[in-house]
Symmetry: C2
Subunit: 83 residues, 2 copies
């Protein structure tokens, strides 16, 4: 079975996000003062082959932990859909 994973990796709430802060300020310069609290992370899509959804979930989890996310500074969530 083939699955598509959609992974969101975001900086932890407790951690300053300077890129997001800079973008929040720029919003004001563009006349979009109603926009605040911008936080910027990564969105990753990938294909995974596995026998079932549970196995696919485990593989994506391993990929996030070992390679994609830095768990000291980031948290991740993901969804799987069969393709």
């Amino acid at each position: 079975m083939n699955f598509k994973a959609e992974i969101d990796i975001m900086p932890l709430e407790a951690i300053l996000d300077p890129q997001g802060k800079a973008v929040t300020q720029s919003m004001g310069n563009l006349g979009l003062n109603e926009i605040s609290n911008v936080r910027i992370g990564k969105h990753i899509t990938l294909k995974v082959e596995a026998n079932d959804e549970a196995a696919a979930k485990e593989k994506v989890d391993t990929a996030c932990k070992k390679l994609l996310a830095n768990l000291i500074m980031e948290s991740y969530t993901f969804t799987l859909t069969e393709v």
Copy 2:
């Protein structure tokens, strides 16, 4: 009304994603050969104040077009939830 927007910005399908390609290769080195087709984009969350959902949608759309996404190389999608 306050809304939270969740924005995904991804490189267009037609465009090479060298970062994603490098990560796909690293998956093999980690023993995760079942993972392929990694594509890496941005996930952005922000708060927006507006009178109604339609107005909020327009503001987020403007922010994406003018600042967050490079429409020549990237496409964006977003969802709004009232908070």
